[in-house]
C-alpha cells in the first residue's frame, strides 16, 4: 500500500480552504501550518499563466527526514505515510533542515509537526480533511497500488509532475498540469 495525493493545478483557485481545514481538523496552532498554497506566475502582460499549487509534506518514499532523525521519531507508517512521534521527538530540527520541501515546523509543544495525510481519518474510511473540504475538488487521494483509487485513476488520465524530483526523494505528492 502506497498512499499518495494529486493536486489539479488547473482547478485549484488558491483559496487556502485546505490550510484552514487542516488547521481546525488537526488543532494546528494559529500562526503555524502543515500545508500552504503557492502561486507561480509566468509570462508578460497580456500573455500570462499562473500555476496554483496546494502543497504539504510529500510523504517521500526515500525521505531525508526519516533518515536523519536521531531518535526514530520520524518514521514510515501505514502505506508509507511519514509521521513524527511527538514523545520521541527532541525538537533538534535536523528533519526541518533536511526537507527539500520545507514541509515541517517546530510545534510550540516542543516537537516537530507536519502533515499526516490525516491518517486518523483514512483509517476511519474518510478522506484527508484538505481533500474532503476542497470546493474545487482539485485533490485526489488514495493508494497507488490500487488501480481503482482516485489518485491512480487521475494519474493515468492526466499529465503530472512532482516537485524537486532531482532530490531523489521519490515524493508521493503529484501535481496535475
Amino acid at each position: 500500500m502506497r498512499y499518495a495525493m494529486a493536486v489539479d493545478t488547473k482547478k485549484c483557485v488558491g483559496c487556502s480552504d485546505c490550510v484552514v481545514a487542516c488547521q481546525t481538523e488537526n488543532n494546528v496552532p494559529i500562526g503555524y501550518c502543515r500545508e500552504w498554497v503557492v502561486e507561480v506566475m509566468s509570462g508578460t502582460y497580456p500573455q500570462l499563466e499562473i500555476e496554483i499549487r496546494s502543497e504539504r509534506c510529500n510523504h517521500c518514499e526515500n525521505s531525508p527526514c526519516v533518515r536523519c532523525c536521531p531518535t526514530g521519531a520520524s518514521h514510515y507508517s501505514n502505506g508509507g505515510i511519514v509521521l513524527v512521534k511527538p514523545d520521541k521527538c527532541i525538537g533538534c530540527g535536523a528533519c526541518i533542515a533536511s526537507c527539500p520541501y520545507d514541509a515541517r515546523y517546530p510545534h510550540p509543544g516542543g516537537y516537530v509537526d507536519k502533515c499526516t495525510f490525516c491518517i486518523h481519518r483514512i483509517l476511519d474510511g474518510m478522506q484527508p480533511a484538505c481533500v474532503a473540504v476542497c470546493p474545487t475538488k482539485c485533490m485526489y487521494f488514495g493508494d497507488l497500488d490500487d488501480p481503482a483509487s482516485d489518485v491512480s485513476v487521475i494519474l493515468k488520465k492526466r499529465k503530472y509532475k512532482t516537485l524537486i524530483p532531482e532530490a531523489g526523494t521519490k515524493p508521493h505528492l503529484y501535481f496535475l498540469i
Binding site: 480552504d17 481538523e25 500570462l48 499563466e49 476511519d124
Partner: protein, 745 residues
C-alpha cells in the same frame, strides 16, 4: 462517516489530546498505533448554516472531548455547498473564539464617536432604546426609524420595526451591490437572478465573466460548479482589467479598459445579431423588440468597440463565435457586486439581452428555474400600515428600485428642507456601515444628525464606535435563527441551532428583539415563548419538525413540477409588461430611461492617477472577517496591485508601503504594501476590500492594509434604481507618510 464502534476505540486512545497549546501534548502517552495522532474524539454534531457570508452554506459543528467547539464541515445534502465549506466557513470557528468580541451591552457616555462607553445591563439598554424610539415616533413618526441589516438577526429586528410602524428596512447588499443586476434582469426576463444565482454553471459549455472573479469571491456553489465546468472542458471568457484567478483558468482573457464594458457588450450583441448567431426560434417565440434592437446596434461594430475598449476586433468576433457555438449552454454571468459606474442597470440589461439572444435563460447550461420553500410566519397581529416610506424622500426618483436603498436612507438622514422624511433613528444589525457605504463623510454627517443609533454586532466594528447603544450579539454558533430557505435546483430548508451557550453576556438577536418588544408594548408580535417553539411550528407547517431538523440539518423537497428548464415549445409567460423577454424594455421607456442599453463614456484618471478597483479575497467576507484569528492567519492585510511599468515609473518595489491620495485629496489613513505585478493594466490599481480597520479594539486587524471605502468619495448614482457606482475614483501614490492634517476626513 465514523462508526460508533470506531469512535469508542479512538476516544479510548485520545484523552486529553484535543486541547491546543504548549504542554498539553505531554499528556499523550499512547502513540503505539498511528491512528492516535490528533484524534477524532467526538462524532456528535450540531446542525448550522454559515453566517460568514450570504451564501449560508449548511454544515455541522463538531465539538471536542471537552465539549468545546472544534470544527465545522459542510452538510453533504446541502445544494449550496455539497458538503464542502469555503475557507471562511471552515474558519467560522474563529468568529466564536475571537477574543476581541463584544462582551456586554454598552451605552455611550461621551460625545458620539469619541468611543467612551459604559457597560450596562440588558434592561438598561432596552429601556434607553425604547424611550428614544417612542420619542422619535411621537415627534417625527415611527417611519423615521430605519433598520440596516446584513445578518440573520435582521429578520427579528425587521419584524419589530414593522410592528413599530416603519417599513424602512434596508440592506447594503442592494444599492451597494447586486441591485442593478436584479433591476436589469427583471426588466428583461421579469425575474431577478436571486441568491444563490440560478446560473447552471455545472453544465455550461461557455462561461463569460465580466469583472466577476469567481474563485476569489468564494460564492461556494459557483466556485464548485466552475471547477466542474473546467473538468468538462467548458470555455471560460474573462473580461477584467486584472488577470484574476478566473482569468488564469480561461480560454480568453480580455484585459478591457475599465469602464468600457457596455461598448464590448454592444459589439457582442451586434456580432451575434448580424452574423445571425442568435437562437432564432427562441427569439421569435419568447422575445419582444428584436427589430428595434437590431436597428439600435447597427453601428456598434467590433471596430467601433476596439477604439473604446482596447479589445481587438478579431478577439471580439472570436469570443462571440465561442458563445454562439455553446448556445444555449452559455452563461454571460450577471455578476454580483455590480455597482461600478452609475450606468450599471443598463450594463446588466446588456448582459441579460446577450443571454436572451443566445437562448440561455431557462435552458440547460444557461439559467435554470429555481425553486424554494415558502415558510409561513408565526401567527401575529397584522402590521400597521405605514403612512410613508423612504421613497417619500426621493419623489419621482429610483422608481424601479424594488428594495429600499441603504445609501438613500443615509442621505435622507441629513436634515434638509427639501426632504419629506428625515430619519432620526438607525438600528444597524451585522453591517459595518462605515466600510460598507461609500462617501464616509456623508455617512458620518448622517450619523451625527441622529437621535438614536443602535448597533447589533458580534465584533467592535467601526460602526459600533459611533453608536449610542451597542448590543453584543452571540455568534451564529451560539444561537438559533430563522429557517434558511433559498432558491436552488431543488427546494431545501436548513436549520441553525446553538453548538454552545453564548459566551460572555452576549445574546441572540431574536431574544433582543422580543425583549425590546416588551418595552415598546409590541409583545403581541412576538407571540412565542421560546424560539424553539416558533421554529417547530414553522417546520411543522412544511412537513418537518425541529426534532427532525436537529437530526438532519438540511431537508430536501421535490420540485412541484419537473421544469428545471423550459421544455421544447413550452409556452412561457414572462413577468414583464409584454409577457415576453423584453430586448426592448417597455418599463424603462415608461419611466423615461433608454429602452435599450447605450455606451456612455466615463471619466478617465487624470495624469499620475490610477483607477481604484477593489474586489474580494477568498479568505474574507468584506470587513466582517478581518479580525477572525483563523482567517487573518491566511490573509491579514491587503496589498496594492501595481503594474510593473507603473512601478518602474514611480520607483516602487514589492513590499514597499505607500499611502494613497484620491482625486478629492483624501489620503488613506494607513499605508498599504505594493505588489508589483504584470497581472493588472497600467491604468488601474487593485486591492481587496475590507482592510485598514481604524478601530483599535480590533487588535488583529487595526491598521493592517488600507480601506478602499475611505478613498471612494465620488459616487456615481444609477438614475434607474439608485445604485452607488464606486469605481470612478482615482488614486496616486505617496511614498512618504503624509502630515497628520492631510489625513483628516
Amino acid at each position: 462517516m465514523t462508526s460508533r464502534r470506531q469512535f469508542i476505540k479512538i476516544s479510548a486512545y485520545g484523552a486529553g489530546a484535543m486541547a491546543m497549546g504548549a504542554g498539553v501534548f505531554g499528556a499523550v502517552k499512547h502513540l503505539s498505533a498511528p491512528a492516535a495522532e490528533n484524534l477524532v474524539v467526538d462524532t456528535s454534531r450540531i446542525p448550522t448554516y454559515c453566517e460568514v457570508c450570504f451564501w449560508k452554506c449548511a454544515g455541522w459543528v463538531y465539538k471536542n472531548e471537552q465539549g468545546k467547539i472544534w470544527k465545522i464541515t459542510g452538510n453533504d445534502e446541502d445544494l449550496n455547498c455539497n458538503g464542502r465549506l469555503c475557507p471562511r466557513g471552515t474558519g467560522g470557528v474563529g468568529m466564536y473564539y475571537d477574543d476581541d468580541r463584544l462582551q456586554t451591552p454598552l451605552l455611550r457616555v461621551g460625545e458620539r464617536g469619541a468611543q467612551t462607553f459604559k457597560p450596562v445591563s440588558w434592561d438598561e439598554a432596552f429601556a434607553y432604546i425604547s424611550e428614544k424610539m417612542k420619542q422619535i415616533a411621537k415627534e417625527h413618526g415611527p417611519e423615521c426609524i430605519a433598520l440596516f441589516t446584513h445578518g440573520s438577526g435582521g429578520t427579528y429586528f425587521g419584524d419589530l420595526l414593522k410592528a413599530f410602524g416603519s417599513p424602512n428596512i434596508t440592506a447594503p447588499s442592494y444599492a451597494q451591490c447586486r441591485g442593478p443586476r436584479e433591476v436589469g434582469f427583471i426588466a428583461t426576463f421579469g425575474e431577478e437572478v436571486g441568491s444563490p444565482e440560478n446560473t447552471d454553471i455545472r453544465d455550461t459549455k461557455c462561461l463569460v465573466l465580466i469583472g466577476s472573479h469567481i474563485g476569489e469571491n468564494m460564492h461556494n456553489g459557483q466556485v464548485q460548479e466552475m471547477s466542474d465546468a473546467i473538468d468538462k472542458g467548458a470555455a471560460i471568457i474573462t473580461v477584467d482589467p486584472r488577470f484574476s484567478t478566473a482569468a488564469s483558468k480561461s480560454k480568453y482573457w480580455l484585459p478591457i479598459k475599465p469602464a468600457t464594458d457596455n461598448a464590448l457588450l454592444l459589439a457582442w450583441i451586434h456580432e451575434i445579431i448580424y452574423k445571425e448567431y442568435y437562437d432564432k426560434k427562441y427569439v421569435e417565440k419568447y422575445c419582444f423588440g428584436f427589430e428595434q434592437l437590431k436597428g439600435h446596434v447597427r453601428n456598434f461594430t467590433p471596430e467601433w468597440a476596439y477604439g473604446i475598449t482596447t479589445i481587438a476586433p478579431d478577439i471580439i468576433r472570436e469570443t462571440a463565435k465561442e458563445m454562439a457555438n455553446a448556445s444555449p449552454a452559455v452563461i454571460i454571468h450577471p455578476g454580483r457586486h455590480v455597482t461600478w459606474y452609475g450606468d450599471d442597470t443598463q450594463r446588466s440589461r446588456a448582459i441579460a439581452i446577450l443571454n436572451a439572444l443566445l437562448g440561455s435563460w431557462g435552458r440547460r447550461g444557461g439559467f435554470f428555474r429555481p425553486e424554494k420553500v415558502s415558510i409561513p410566519s408565526f401567527p401575529h397581529p397584522p402590521f400597521p400600515e405605514p403612512s410613508r416610506s423612504w421613497r417619500n424622500a426621493f419623489p419621482n426618483k429610483y422608481k424601479l428600485a424594488d428594495l429600499a436603498l441603504a445609501s438613500g436612507i443615509c442621505e435622507a438622514t441629513i436634515p434638509s428642507t427639501a426632504r419629506d422624511c428625515t430619519f432620526k433613528g438607525w438600528i444597524v444589525n451585522g453591517t459595518n456601515l462605515i466600510e460598507t457605504l461609500p462617501d464616509q463623510k456623508q455617512t458620518l454627517t448622517a450619523i451625527q444628525s441622529l437621535d438614536l443609533l443602535v448597533v447589533i454586532d458580534t465584533m467592535p466594528m467601526e460602526i459600533t464606535g459611533w453608536a449610542d447603544v451597542v448590543l453584543p450579539e452571540c455568534t451564529y454558533l451560539e444561537r438559533y435563527d430563522s429557517i434558511r430557505t433559498g432558491p436552488n435546483r431543488k427546494p431545501q430548508v436548513a436549520l441553525r441551532m446553538p453548538a454552545s451557550e453564548p459566551l460572555y453576556d452576549t445574546k441572540p438577536a431574536a431574544w433582543m428583539a422580543k425583549e425590546l418588544s416588551k418595552h415598546l408594548g409590541l409583545e403581541d408580535y412576538f407571540n412565542w415563548t421560546t424560539i424553539e417553539e416558533m421554529l417547530d411550528w414553522q417546520l411543522k407547517q412544511i412537513g418537518s419538525s425541529l426534532e427532525e431538523m436537529k437530526r438532519i440539518g438540511v431537508k430536501t423537497f421535490e420540485r412541484p413540477a419537473d421544469d428545471l428548464y423550459f421544455s421544447d415549445n413550452e409556452e412561457v409567460e414572462f413577468f414583464t409588461p409584454t409577457g415576453k423577454i423584453e430586448l426592448y424594455s417597455t418599463s424603462f421607456e415608461a419611466e423615461g430611461f433608454d429602452p435599450m442599453p447605450i455606451y456612455t463614456p466615463h471619466e478617465e484618471p487624470p495624469q499620475g492617477f490610477y483607477r481604484l478597483i477593489y474586489g474580494r479575497g477568498p479568505a474574507h467576507t468584506f470587513s466582517r472577517t478581518a479580525n477572525n484569528p483563523n482567517l487573518t492567519d491566511i490573509m491579514d492585510e491587503n496589498l496594492l496591485w501595481v503594474n510593473l511599468k507603473v512601478a518602474k515609473l514611480w520607483g516602487l518595489a514589492s513590499g514597499q508601503p505607500v499611502w494613497l491620495k484620491n482625486q478629492d485629496g483624501i489620503v488613506s489613513e494607513f499605508p498599504i504594501k505594493v505588489r508589483v505585478t504584470e497581472r493588472i493594466r497600467w491604468d488601474s490599481v487593485y486591492m481587496v476590500h475590507g482592510f485598514g480597520h481604524a478601530d483599535k479594539r480590533l487588535r488583529r486587524s487595526y491598521g493592517k492594509g488600507t480601506s478602499d471605502t475611505k478613498l471612494i468619495t465620488r459616487v456615481h448614482i444609477d438614475p434607474i434604481m439608485g445604485g452607488t457606482g464606486m469605481r470612478g475614483n482615482f488614486v496616486t501614490f505617496l511614498t512618504e507618510k503624509p502630515a497628520e492634517t492631510e489625513v483628516a476626513l
